[in-house]
Symmetry: C2
Subunit: 365 residues, 2 copies
């Protein structure tokens, strides 16, 4: 037994909380169940969280490198994707050690880039102009019926507080299978942008930049663009529905109505992550910034068809947030899965199919 592996009787509460809050999410987004079980079994202290996910990631990196060397393209692509996800889980709410966190993030980005071209359909790394910045995003276009003829409808995919464009790809498969292109984007406070740009309460600015970008792509039908956002991205989606009129349909999954409601009940890692991503210097400042993420004003501006989705057992953003938004919008559709977890990742196939079919009905001729 090494000195830093002294027995610590109770598993760190943050580790137990992470497993309870996010197990469904990790697996629904592409991590093998066996890797989830094996990695969690190695972690008793929160301090080990990022490192042990890195051990899992590094194993897949080695598999991927060996497969690349052997010309086994299918094996390499899946292994790079699993490596990227494992680095992402190590990093996503690990604010305690910013150096380790950022290193893990950069490997998420690097590993996914090596998978991107071999995915079906391929993921093209693009950059969306945004003020003086360029937001990294992955564009995937389903194969057309005849090359050069049909343009594809598209869905902009918006991550939450701690997700990124790489994590959204398992969900993207549901859109792609129905003929919708996907543009998954890292906005302010997210993924590749999070070290430069703090969280932007007026996320509609990002939606506008993404629509502008898609209108300039020959493969995309500019009059058939929708948007999907999850968790804090569900809030961002509602903002976009309020202020970006070119969107034809929007899905807001598990989003808050006001982020400061229930702030004290959020997992401690989530509050710490918001503090880091919003650029707040103290916990009090973070709470004040959370209060800026509110749909009180925006809800009155929503005219776009909107599907509001939540989980009845969501302990992170409880369903009263979605119910409150729906109560302001008689024309919106509200879909609560009574036993649904945060993001309804415990009913991933069912909820993702339904959201994808809803968007397809509104975006595909």
């Amino acid at each position: 037994m090494t000195p830093d592996k002294q027995p610590e009787t109770p598993t760190d509460a943050r580790v137990a909380g992470a497993a309870a809050h996010w197990g469904f999410r990790f697996i629904a987004n592409g991590t093998d169940y066996g890797d989830f079980i094996a990695t969690l079994a190695r972690i008793t202290r929160w301090a080990d969280w990022c490192r042990e996910w890195g051990v899992t990631a590094a194993h897949y990196e080695q598999l991927a490198e060996a497969a690349d060397d052997a010309g086994q393209a299918a094996t390499a692509a899946g292994a790079w994707q699993r490596a990227a996800l494992a680095w992402h889980w190590g990093k996503f709410v690990f604010t305690d050690d910013p150096v380790q966190q950022r290193a893990a993030h950069e490997r998420t980005v690097a590993c996914f880039r090596r998978a991107a071209a071999a995915l079906t359909p391929p993921a093209e790394l693009v950059h969306v102009p945004y003020g003086n910045h360029a937001l990294a995003a992955y564009l995937r276009v389903p194969p057309g019926e005849a090359p050069g003829e049909a343009k594809a409808p598209a869905v902009i995919m918006v991550p939450g507080l701690d997700s990124t464009k790489e994590e959204l790809q398992a969900n993207a498969e549901f859109f792609l299978a129905r003929g919708l292109a996907t543009l998954a984007i890292d906005g302010p406070g997210q993924g590749e942008a999070e070290y430069e740009l703090p969280i932007e309460p007026r996320y509609e600015k990002v939606a506008t930049a993404a629509v502008d970008y898609l209108c300039g792509r020959d493969e995309i039908e500019a009059t058939r663009i929708g948007l999907f956002g999850v968790s804090l991205g569900g809030y961002y989606a509602a903002r976009a529905a309020a202020y970006e009129p070119r969107l034809q349909a929007v899905v807001a999954l598990a989003g808050p109505y006001r982020l400061d409601l229930g702030w004290d009940e959020l997992p401690p890692q989530t509050r710490a992550t918001f503090q880091a991503r919003s650029g707040a210097k103290t916990a009090d400042e973070a709470r004040a910034k959370a209060a800026e993420l509110t749909l009180e004003e925006a809800a009155g501006h929503i005219a776009t068809p909107l599907l509001i989705v939540g989980g009845g057992r969501d302990t992170i953003i409880p369903a009263h947030h979605q119910q409150r938004l729906a109560s302001r919008l008689p024309a919106a559709e509200l879909l609560i899965y009574p036993d649904g977890s945060h993001g309804v990742t415990n009913r991933a196939y069912e909820s993702r199919s339904r959201m994808a079919d809803w968007l397809t009905a509104r975006l595909v001729p």
Copy 2:
């Protein structure tokens, strides 16, 4: 609380055993993690096992019917597949109630048939002539580079004691992604044949029938046929390698060298299932029949390239079975995953990729 739902303090040992032995398998073969958790949470008595998996299955049947009615083909196909799998888990080792078991089996078959044509590539239900019988099988052929030109190499996929052609499709994806066609078959004692034909120790007869069938298919390259078998199918695979010389390469995953070795340590459901599928009238007769499944003689006849794979933590067919076979065959390759479960389903991506790449290297020009 209804009369049959009195509290029973300990969860039935067979339920706990089932979850421990087969959780990785259920999820690796396509059941959502959320469905696994939710279904197991409803089961405390083994007597409820089949019925509760049926509740999960029926939910997906309803989703699938609704999606079919709405013209949502992608949603319907996945839901039919999930319904088929859930019925399969209810049935696979549930010998206590043969009427309930058979009803669940028939719904597995019926649900999968409704998914088959919509899979990518489609699964074609075929029948392989076998004596006076016809063995049901699913043939899937990857899209060729130019229609009518290239013939595809093929892998015959052989289930184990309690698996079926429907369950093997998640693994089939790994072969299909590498350009190999798949023929997953229900042999004697398996799936659609299990009510008519008892387990056949000389399973090479099935391999020969399957090769004969594939040689008659225009899409298949007759000189490039391999075979993969899992669990008891790993034994069947070694039999095929010994006695069917047209096979170019064979993978035997988690197979027994002699089924009677460690017979008493098998899960009780597994022994009961073997008794039912082998047609034995008593437990003693089942043990005697198990002794007929042996590679002692066959091993001396194996000249085909053979990859023997096992898991170091396999508590059903321990790795000494694979090691013993390998010790008889200096030219065979032995691959033991030290922390691998039965069928290495806890390292599904890694092991399946490796087996598929090994076959691809030997079957694709």
